[in-house]
């Protein structure tokens, strides 16, 4: 039998249920893997006892002959953007260092109710602002992947859910939560050769998730295959009266509905995603993906999303604007850091606390957001961006009259080296293929398609209609079955 840490969510769930191994053995194996992988810096806090307690509950339930919960015996990683009761929750920031919530986020609560255990809190870009995991106050996450050139260049695991992606790829956890505001589940999944889905906006409650840009923030699962994503998604989603934008809809049985038969489905290929400067290997993988979906029975159609090029600039107005408002709560009064020198007044305290507590990228975005919302600029920037957002959403609506799904690359490059992208704008451009679906609120997923010449994973993105996570997952499954992606990073950590 292979190592327990090589098993995914479904295999662990089934193995525990069938008595092939105990949940405690699984939790211990992953706890050991986590403890031995400090070099990746994927975890900010490790919680081995939480994982063991959930495992013991699963083993006890099985021994008693009780019906097992859907995730009984499955330990997972929790992105450190989700409030976890009594466990430090920082959003990878200094300003929240030491913050121990007195409540549990809805999504994590649902996962624990489903029987999952927590291996630890996963590192991320500070306040989920970044595409490389280089903005964390707690240091960079190092991707477990390396180029095949024999060098040891440390690579980005993607961002902002870079702790999640690195930990899953390195077999430190079978699955993890992520959050996606402009691509923060999909791009790190692509960089590390795993799968991840951002559901329709409103599927997962935002309650207890540290807010970045509320009209875009959406939680979702990351795992090593499509089935595992479906299992976790079922446990994470559902109506929550505590989130005013939560969708009051039943949760579909996505795992039971999985089918790689795409006959009768039309898949659109958006012309505007063919961009100058996209590496030939990514173009080739995209064509390969088209052929795989055809092979699965889908009909391929060319479609146009004419406002695609304006998605990124619109996003970089809307997201910072919402962030500048959301992050106003960090004032040194109610929780988190306080900086107050002798003789300083309240205003000084606010400014000193926020200067000391926020990293450069967070400050940059707060300043941009404050600027575009300030008197005299509001209409030219913010209102115009929201109008462009309407046009981008309309592009997708129009496309759905011609097709059921869209296929694109997930990112314009494979993983880059840490420290290679120093210009903030160049970093923003890495989200070019993921941001439009975020602005339109539609479900989108990345699945691994293959490796580039340097031996690094490349991902394909499937975008679906609102509420059609099933269609997205099914197309992901069709690609997964044909890609036969089995590459994994060789342990050096």
């Amino acid at each position: 039998m292979s190592a327990l840490t090589d098993l995914g969510v479904a295999a662990i769930r089934n193995g525990v249920r069938d008595g092939e191994f105990s949940a405690r053995e699984v939790a211990e194996a992953f706890n050991t893997a986590v403890a031995g992988a400090k070099a990746l810096n994927a975890f900010i806090v490790e919680t081995p006892d939480h994982a063991l307690a959930a495992a013991d509950a699963a083993d006890k339930a099985r021994a008693a002959g009780d019906t097992l919960k859907p995730l009984a015996g499955v330990p997972i990683g929790m992105k450190d953007l989700f409030a976890t009761k009594g466990v430090q929750t920082t959003a990878a920031s200094h300003i929240l260092e030491g913050f121990k919530p007195v409540y549990e986020s809805t999504v994590s609560h649902k996962l624990w109710e489903a029987g999952a255990g927590m291996l630890g809190k996963l590192n991320l870009d500070q306040f989920a602002m970044g595409s490389s995991n280089e903005t964390s106050y707690f240091g960079n996450v190092i991707s477990p992947w390396r180029r095949n050139d024999g060098g040891n260049t440390p690579l980005a695991p993607g961002g902002s859910s870079g702790g999640s992606s690195a930990a899953i790829a390195a077999r430190l956890c079978p699955a993890a939560t992520g959050t996606d505001t402009g691509g923060s589940i999909r791009q790190p999944a692509a960089f590390t050769g795993i799968s991840g889905i951002k559901p329709t906006y409103g599927r997962c409650s935002r309650w207890g998730v540290v807010a970045f840009a509320s009209s875009l923030d959406q939680a979702g699962p990351m795992a090593r295959d499509v089935r595992d994503c479906a299992i976790l998604l079922e446990a994470m989603t559902g109506f929550d009266p505590k989130d005013s934008t939560s969708l009051d809809m039943p949760v579909p049985k996505w795992e039971a509905g999985l089918s790689a038969d795409l006959r009768g489905k039309r898949v659109g290929i958006p012309a505007e995603y063919r961009m100058d400067g996209t590496p030939a290997e990514i173009e080739a993988l995209w064509q390969q993906g088209i052929d795989w979906l055809k092979d699965a029975g889908a009909e391929i159609v060319e479609v146009s999303l004419p406002h695609t090029k304006y998605a990124l600039p619109a996003y970089y107005i809307i997201a910072p604007a919402e962030a500048s408002s959301n992050l106003a709560r960090y004032d040194g009064v109610r929780y988190g850091l306080r900086e107050l020198a002798e003789g300083q007044n309240l205003q000084d305290m606010y400014a000193a606390t926020r200067a000391a507590g926020f990293g450069d990228e967070v400050k940059r975005r707060i300043l941009i957001g404050t600027y575009v919302l300030s008197a005299g600029f509001y209409d030219a920037y913010y209102t115009q961006a929201q109008k462009v957002r309407t046009l981008i959403a309309r592009d997708f609506d129009n496309a759905w009259s011609q097709c059921d799904l869209l296929l694109t690359p997930t990112a314009p490059s494979a993983a880059f080296g840490l420290g290679e992208k120093v210009d903030p704008l160049a970093m923003y451009l890495n989200d070019v293929f993921t941001v439009p679906a975020s602005l339109a609120g539609v479900p989108a997923m990345s699945v691994p398609g293959g490796l580039d010449a340097a031996g690094l994973p490349l991902g394909l993105q499937i975008i679906g209609k609102p509420f059609d996570e099933q269609g997205v997952l099914n197309a992901g499954l069709a690609i997964e079955q044909r890609a036969g992606f089995t590459a994994r990073p060789q342990p050096w950590w």
Binding site: V102, S244, V333, D348, M349, A351, Y371, K387, P424, L439
Partner: protein, 95 residues
């Protein structure tokens, strides 16, 4: 539109973030670069286009006007950097 150092300091003050002269000087060209790139949105014809308000159509729910969670003073104050007598405390604001 060009953002100078004085504007960066003014925006930082609005955002209640203390900023040194050196940091303001460093950030001005970065912000100009980003804002310059954002300005391409101006070329989109948005005549008769409504700004987006809800990306997935949803209705704002109302709930009964009753206390749902209360009597949790200690929990609310548990993470306060400084509290006293069941209150958050801040530097004196009234002379």
């Amino acid at each position: 539109m060009s953002v100078d150092t004085a504007t960066v300091k003014k925006v930082a003050s609005l955002a209640r973030i203390a900023i040194s002269d050196a940091d303001a000087e460093r950030m001005a060209p970065e912000l100009n670069n980003i804002l310059g790139w954002i300005e391409q949105l101006g070329e989109v014809n948005t005549h008769d286009v409504e700004p987006m308000t809800a990306v997935i159509p949803n209705t704002l729910r109302l709930r009964a006007d009753v206390i749902t969670e209360g009597q949790q003073r200690d929990a609310v104050l548990a993470n306060a950097p400084q509290g006293d007598h069941g209150f958050f405390t801040v530097p004196k604001v009234v002379e």
